[in-house]
Symmetry: C2
Subunit: 169 residues, 2 copies
């Protein structure tokens, strides 16, 4: 049971986009360079978030990515679901219907209680992630970071973040 590494990258990338001035954006290559990760795989995660409506992409020269909605409306669960999928982690294969004492399908109107227990646990997991937004993370970063680091970050963003074109890729 493990969460795809791409989720980590996607969250960090989204958090960085949240720090951009309005109207500006970053291309996939710049996001990868900022985080020191392979560009093509970072691009794949951005693609997934774009398809989910979390970020908006512009194609062509001066293209790139920006957040598609306010940071308060983007949660860690949104990003996890977009990148890793929303499928249940526990997959009930109905083995209670197998073997010499297997239940007949018509006697299985009630769901398997084992599957129910796991579904509840997963819901608790999702609820916990859904309670944290990009805005929450930004607040913590501002509190925790050294002033020098914030300055370096701003300088880098000012150099790399360009005004985006308005096309909808």
């Amino acid at each position: 049971m493990q969460i795809s590494k791409g989720v980590e990258w996607a969250v960090h990338a989204a958090a960085l986009l949240n720090g951009l001035p309005s109207g500006r954006g970053l291309k996939a290559e710049a996001l990868a360079r900022y985080h020191g990760v392979p560009a093509p795989y970072m691009a794949k995660q951005m693609q997934a978030m774009s398809k989910a409506g979390i970020i908006r992409s512009s194609r062509g020269a001066h293209g790139g990515y920006r957040l598609a909605k306010p940071a308060e409306q983007i949660t860690l669960w949104d990003i996890t679901a977009a990148v890793d999928g929303k499928g249940q982690a526990f997959r009930c294969t109905e083995i209670r219907q197998n073997g010499p004492c297997g239940l007949k399908p018509e006697d299985c109107r009630r769901p398997c209680q084992i599957a129910v227990a796991f579904a509840r646990a997963e819901q608790a997991f999702r609820d916990s992630l859904a309670a944290v937004s990009l805005a929450d993370l930004a607040g913590q970063v501002l509190n925790d970071s050294e002033p020098g680091h914030l300055l370096a970050m701003m300088n880098w963003l000012n150099a790399e973040a360009e005004p985006l074109s308005d096309n909808r890729a």
Copy 2:
């Protein structure tokens, strides 16, 4: 992000062992046959639970498995951890230390808040599973099942469950 299929089998197997009269047990092959799953892979899950102290194994003729402690003390999280491992699903690779604005290790005394948020979510998941014991599941099965099915189950267990030897494999 998905939970190993072996977890499902292990939980069902443990629940069946809980239905055995005291002093009796089932061998791995019988557990696999009961659930209609491949015997060698079922054996692997039993091995994992044995190593974790959830079930007790006896080797040699009239060997087999039984629960190692009362059903009230065995939770779904115990079984999941034994079979799937207790490792964190979200693995923080500290990418905040990478790239042109990477933090220096000495500035990372505070944990990455993204990792913290995921750790909290996983804890909620674990807590939820830890709140359900094999005894809880047994109660639900007794309530939900058709009398005819319970009878068939008891007959099968009486035929297959043998008194175990006392060696500690």
